[in-house]
Subunit: 351 residues, 3 copies
Amino acid sequence: MRRLERPVPLTQIAELLGARLAPGAGDARIARLASLASAGPGDLGFLSDARYAPDAGRSQATAVLVTEALAGCLSGVTLAVLVPDPYVAFAKAARWFETQLGAGRAAPEIHPAATIDPGAKIGAAVAIGAQAVVAAGAEIGDGVTLGPGAVIGAGARIGAGSRIGPHVTLYADCVIGRDAIVHAGTVIGSDGFGFAREGGRWLKIPQLGGVVIGDDVEIGANCTIDRGALEDTVIGDGCKLDNLIQIAHNVRIGAHSALAGCVGVAGSARIGERCMIGGGAGILGHLEICDDVVISAMSLVTRSIRTPGFYTGVFPLLENRAWEKAGAVVRQLPQMRERLRELERLTRETR
Amino acid sequence: MRRLERPVPLTQIAELLGARLAPGAGDARIARLASLASAGPGDLGFLSDARYAPDAGRSQATAVLVTEALAGCLSGVTLAVLVPDPYVAFAKAARWFETQLGAGRAAPEIHPAATIDPGAKIGAAVAIGAQAVVAAGAEIGDGVTLGPGAVIGAGARIGAGSRIGPHVTLYADCVIGRDAIVHAGTVIGSDGFGFAREGGRWLKIPQLGGVVIGDDVEIGANCTIDRGALEDTVIGDGCKLDNLIQIAHNVRIGAHSALAGCVGVAGSARIGERCMIGGGAGILGHLEICDDVVISAMSLVTRSIRTPGFYTGVFPLLENRAWEKAGAVVRQLPQMRERLRELERLTRETR
Amino acid sequence: MRRLERPVPLTQIAELLGARLAPGAGDARIARLASLASAGPGDLGFLSDARYAPDAGRSQATAVLVTEALAGCLSGVTLAVLVPDPYVAFAKAARWFETQLGAGRAAPEIHPAATIDPGAKIGAAVAIGAQAVVAAGAEIGDGVTLGPGAVIGAGARIGAGSRIGPHVTLYADCVIGRDAIVHAGTVIGSDGFGFAREGGRWLKIPQLGGVVIGDDVEIGANCTIDRGALEDTVIGDGCKLDNLIQIAHNVRIGAHSALAGCVGVAGSARIGERCMIGGGAGILGHLEICDDVVISAMSLVTRSIRTPGFYTGVFPLLENRAWEKAGAVVRQLPQMRERLRELERLTRETR
């Protein structure tokens, strides 16, 4: 990140975070946030995991956000900024620095090269980038930002304060709540994958539902969220989706769940609240996953999960030659089990 | 879905579908389609799988599309609309409702904020959205719809009646057939991934082939279909591709195959007709898959398949602690097999 | 590929490649490149792998790029063009044909429907397509091509000679080196997936780093490369990324590595130089992979790799019924190992 042009007193940041400063802070000043490994004079780091204590000991950071328990790990040149949760404190500090740096927010103006249908309803203090397109009947809430080239379909609605990235497509009649963030290239409301087979051919089933995305949701870049067949596809409040995620039609995701990059969720699956789905994982259609479930990266959920917990299904990584051997045995496992049973029988007889 | 402003007589829908109405339909009227679980008065549902018979028994739908065999499952308030294949009948009913609701089709006008090269050939009754770009030598067939921001390269051709979504990129000289649908953000004709290694560096191999997509093909959002290295990448008539699918250069897919979301097909693979590839599955390069093959979600096809059938290769999902144990044993499988052999030898000797 | 309107003497191509022509080339002329399987009179093919020798024997190509060792495999009608590495020679020949066909390069003009901020710095001989958007403070190097609808954020920089495809988004302050190629729809510099959990909710961590992409890098279509949280996400010189790849924040990839389609790399992972990552593979966060590592398609890297080599972790593809049986046994592997141990104990006692 860029340095602040005018470094700020560490005491000011501590106050902002409600943090206690160990004695000796004096008139130390901070110009940026940095990781422990790269931090130097003028930088504020954070130590949120005891595994990184050695980095903290070597760090040249001016100050470090740290719990009282780990404050002893810091080097002599580093001041401790005592907080109960250093990662949360770091998040709050980063939000403050972002504001100082003037990043994130576009000026509230509508670029003359945008195409706004006169039948669209545009709120106050809205920023719309060049080449963006807003169709008739769309409603853009107060303080919304639409990036260059964003396409908002007829009758679609975006709640106040939401930020929509470049080239996002929000198809007709789909809804995004307040204070949501959608990154570039994401498509919301494309047709669900619905076909009936008739005589060896696929007959398209029109997708007549919509998509409803809650408040405070963040969706990464180049995701796809299909509209429902009859009812809506629903993403609950506070959900966080990483990049390149596929959400099929009729899926419902409960509030405050987080999905890492490249996850695919098949049609009509239901995911509970506060779930965490690892990168590249898949969830088959028509399943239910209860609240507070964690799925490992690249695992496939093939059945409903009714007990909160941590689930995994991945073939271990092996040196390729070892994998070839293990893979060959995997194919023979049923026979091996039979041979084991036979040996057990023989051994019982022998004794 | 929205309700029709004027509900229609059930008899009219039955006639449309060639369905037989059980006695008692009288002057029942239908305002929308709905799933059994959510349907109420004025709604038409469908029962296509005996597993959902309990939902049918509880449903408050005015009428349900159902086979004669399952008609007895309906509740007393629900009228049976007898059809041989309820899911196909539902598809046809949905297509009729879509027309009534005025969904799907844009008015045939070319937005003044589109950029059409004078050397492009535009058919009759074409709709082109704002910010779309059509290059010289491109040919857009009669009745085609191009969404806002679609980019059609020089010499590319789109057959009559096709609907191309917002932000789709069709690179130069690529071809889409008639009545195709391509959803937002899909890229057709980007360079295949071809490089020769020379002295530790990668030397780009220009990709001089094209992409040819057949008639009645549907391609989801944010897919990528690369152009061939020398010959064309080919998607056969009637194929259906879901979202976020990667089709590498020189791939050929036979007619009426369906690929679910997040599938990746590597270079020069050939897939037969009427295949179904589950979500997130992968197909290695230079393989052949014969007609009528079904691949499970997230399975990797590592060899050619010459027999129609159903194939799977996925590590089962386990509670994480159980997975850690099972995974550890997987690594030892070759040794376990040796130990089993040794025991068998010893047991034979002992007897 | 299209044929050249005027076929060129084979001797000219041989000279270009520094190749030796077997006797008898006379005045043979070449109009295009083709694969051995489809090549006919007027075509130049290549044989780079002894497995395709039978194709070469049947080929009707006028000439074939081939090593001296395999030249004997050619049919009587085909002339041998002797080169040390036929695939590299093919790459070079394709580059020459591309130039002859006039493919690849847009004319250096700025389309009037592009939106260029007066505060952007545009180099010489730059081509910018319709609806492209270049923000204030962006720097576009000499000879750069921006496709239609490309969006270049404030302060972003693109090095000389790079080609940026349609609808690419380069977010603010991100950097692409010289002679890079980025295909349509790719997003560079979207926010990394960073959140702190506070009371069951996710608190966004602003992503204040950038993305730095080296020289001679090629990135496929619809990829996503997130900006770093504090420092930059870095893609080294000469790297080649296929389509639909996800690169999370703070990742660093060494020079000349190649990633096939649909790969996902989680946050802060480090990949060495000259690595090759197979399609759909995943790499967990905070890992290190040393130089010269090859990962198989759809394998998940769950630990750091410190030894160059070839690694795999994929469940073998089985006929579905066989998979169901093998999968059931996989779950029982820990118990099977116990039973094996018990049998070994009993057998030892018995002897």
